[in-house]
């Protein structure tokens, strides 16, 4: 399973493919949790790539949390909702995140609406 480390170091978009290899390795050693997480990571990377194409801003190497943070700042609520559902972000963490992000972006109007 240690193979994973070298994959994370690679820089190009080929990472997704390498991560899929890793998923297979995890499968073989029956590490279900790691399989799922790796798959989700691939999914996240694909979405980030698409967002990048749409908006021209870079989302590479951000965690899910950081991606959401940036999307809230950009008021891209469609994607925020979608990511939140797809990755099953717990409500509590999501609301703290949203309040922080709004406050950070000084979007007081939106903050009022809670």
């Amino acid at each position: 399973c240690k193979i994973l480390r070298s994959y994370t170091l690679e820089h190009i978009e080929e990472r997704a493919r390498l991560l899929e290899d890793a998923t297979n390795c995890f499968h073989r050693c029956k590490n279900d949790f790691a399989v799922k997480q790796t798959e989700e990571q691939v999914k996240l990377m694909r979405i980030q790539r698409r967002l990048e194409d749409d908006s021209g801003r870079s989302y590479a190497d951000l965690s899910l949390q950081a991606t959401l943070h940036q999307l809230i700042l950009e008021r891209n609520s469609a994607w925020v909702e979608r990511l939140r559902k797809d990755f099953k972000v717990p409500d509590k963490r999501f609301w703290i995140l949203k309040i922080n992000a709004l406050a950070y972006g000084e979007d007081w109007v939106e903050l009022e609406r809670f």
Partner: protein
């Protein structure tokens, strides 16, 4: 002997003997090359070596003209005859050395210089191969090794300064550091006599004892002809007690270590508090922003008193000391006769030193207080107390959840989760997975590896047999009413929690391990008990006068060796035991490194570029 080490011989065991031994070996090592020399230091070694041989002494007596740091940028020019590289056996360092040599050749091959290489603590085939690959191995006039083992930190504290030992043993299954530990114990026995009784608990402890037995056999019949000065050796493997280092230490020294990281008895502190207004005016901008460095050891009388106290007691002692010193200064007004004046003047240097150290510690205490008063610290402390008391440990803890949501320092979050896991004998699979998922989503996917490292090394694990509750009860780990000012139990170092490791030492001294066989079976790893036969003539006679403090009676001396690190709070707890009159045992503490929970976990985290 040398200056700055006067406090070493004050303890029960004269540790300056050990220090001088290492110093002699080191000087022999560098004196092998004749003429002026420059030493090139691997950064990780300057601290430990500073405790053995002072720079000034090397310069005056051993023709060491220059000292450099080993850097990729190459060596500054100098006109010494010999250049000695002193380094740990690490591959990345070998590359830097090779670069230095190559650039040195470029600069001018005709300047006659000799190069030497000293490995600490040991040569490594891999490193030598690396140097050969780089084509520079032949440039060395000689390649030596200098076996630095336990470095005396204080009159009762020795450390090998191997931060990575835990990771190496339990993650990478690399037991080299245990070999060094065994070897340094052999050195100790050569200097202070064989230790008659050896106890140990944990896998690594067994390994070390086995290695020592083998080394002894290899030496054959050459026994050290010294009356044993150490009665017992207790080897504790960190895996036996993983919980203790994760909790927040609450002694003065422990807190300094947690907040500012003490390295090789030195601590660097933000300078604002320590410069007077006048100095500020004179000093340049840059010197103000540079952290100030302090040496913390028992040579400082006040620090020796403060270091092991619960932080809540520190304020009181400091203010009381301040009063007595002011009172003593005021004596000069009452001094009338010449004799009295003379007496006062003779006390003056001591008083001034006391006042200076009082100033320093007031400032340090203020810095620490800022930290301990912060909500983050208090909340996490409350959370820890709940967990060690076994409250709701099998559910997702809402405070930990909040910390993740607020994206607080990852190490802090991991520390709390690991505490929960250890107090609950592993987490329910659902809870564990929830935490892991939250961490990956919040801090990033790369931490998957860190998490799996923690699982491999025993910090996090799914549910297993219940043992914590039983151990907690029999060993009295939770003590309800503790007195922080004048403690009556070791639990004061964590304000209500007694470190399991120290309880083991305490029980061993009295009434003995036989009384807790059940608990020992619950704890991980095998138990070791060995007796080394001491020849009749060398045995301690009853009430002999081996130590000058014969009035102390039959005080036994126990060397406690922590494999995988020890915290300052545990050291404090052992010192507390040593001071108890009815304990009957004095302690000298040795360890692979001095740790805090954060440093322990950081060593297990995977670094990703």
């Amino acid at each position: 002997m040398g200056s700055g080490a006067a406090h070493l011989h004050l303890g029960k065991l004269n540790l300056s003997i050990l220090r001088d031994f290492y110093r002699r070996e080191f000087l022999e090592c560098i004196d092998k090359c004749v003429g002026t020399k420059a030493l090139v230091w691997d950064d990780g070694l300057t601290g430990p070596f500073g405790l053995i041989a002072e720079a000034s002494m090397l310069k005056e007596q051993h023709e060491v003209e220059r000292m450099f740091r080993l850097e990729a940028s190459g060596l500054p020019s100098s006109n010494v005859q010999n250049i000695i590289f002193i380094t740990r056996p690490r591959l990345n360092l070998m590359e830097i050395i090779a670069q230095c040599l190559l650039s040195e050749e470029m600069k001018g091959g005709f300047v006659r210089k000799e190069f030497y290489l000293v490995f600490v603590p040991r040569k490594s085939l891999l490193c030598e191969k690396k140097l050969k690959e780089q084509g520079v191995y032949g440039s060395f006039a000689s390649v030596e090794e200098f076996n630095l083992g336990l470095i005396p930190f204080d009159s009762d504290l020795l450390s090998m300064e191997m931060e990575e030992a835990y990771r190496e043993c339990y993650l990478e299954n690399d037991f080299t550091s245990m070999f060094f530990a065994a070897q340094s114990l052999m050195t100790i026995q050569a200097l202070y006599g064989s230790i008659p009784y050896i106890y140990g608990k944990g896998d690594c402890a067994k390994q070390v004892v086995d290695m020592m037995r083998r080394m002894k056999m290899e030496m054959g019949s050459v026994e050290p002809q010294i009356t044993p000065q150490i009665d017992n050796l207790l080897i504790i493997d960190r895996t036996v007690d993983l919980l203790t280092p994760l909790l927040s230490q609450l002694t003065y020294e422990g807190l300094i270590d947690e907040v500012f990281n003490i390295t090789n008895t030195n601590v660097k502190l933000p300078p604002e508090k320590f410069t007077t207004a006048e100095e500020k005016k004179n000093a340049k901008e840059e010197s103000l922003s540079e952290p100030k460095k302090f040496i913390l050891n028992s040579a400082d009388e006040l620090y020796a008193e403060l270091r092991d106290k619960n932080f809540n007691a520190v304020g009181i002692i400091v203010s009381r000391k301040a009063k007595t010193i002011t009172a003593e200064f005021d004596e000069r007004h009452s001094a009338k006769t010449v004799g009295e004046m003379k007496q006062f003047v003779s006390k003056l240097p001591h008083l001034q030193a006391m006042r200076a150290s009082l100033g320093i510690h007031t400032s340090i205490a203020e810095l620490i207080k800022e930290f301990t008063d912060s909500d983050g610290f208090l909340d996490s402390l409350r959370c820890q107390q709940e967990l060690i008391n076994g409250i709701d440990t099998d559910k997702v803890n809402s405070y930990i959840e909040d910390c993740i949501a607020r994206q607080e320092n990852l190490t802090k979050v991991l520390r709390l989760i690991c505490i929960q896991s250890l107090c609950n004998d592993g987490l329910k699979p659902k809870v564990l997975e929830y935490y892991k998922r939250e961490i990956i989503q919040t801090y990033g996917f790369e931490h998957l590896i860190t998490l799996s490292n923690l699982e491999k090394s025993g910090f996090l694990r799914p549910h297993s047999a219940r043992t914590y509750q039983a151990v907690r009860k029999t060993m009295r780990l939770i003590v309800e009413d503790i007195n922080e000012q004048t403690p009556t139990d070791i639990a004061y170092v964590y304000s209500g929690y007694a470190p399991l490791s120290v309880r083991l030492a305490q029980t061993l001294a009295r009434p003995g391990w036989r009384s807790i066989t059940e608990v020992l079976n619950l704890l991980p790893g095998p138990k070791v008990e060995e007796v080394q036969q001491i020849p009749m003539g060398l045995r301690k006679r009853r009430a002999s006068v081996t130590s000058s403090q014969s009035s102390m009676g039959e005080q036994k001396l126990t060397l406690v060796f922590f494999l995988g690190g020890v915290t300052q709070a545990e050291v404090a707890a052992l010192r507390f035991l040593a001071q108890q009159d009815d304990g009957g045992t004095d302690y000298v503490i040795a360890t692979t490194s001095i740790i805090t929970g954060s440093r322990l976990l950081k060593a297990l985290q995977e670094k990703i570029e």
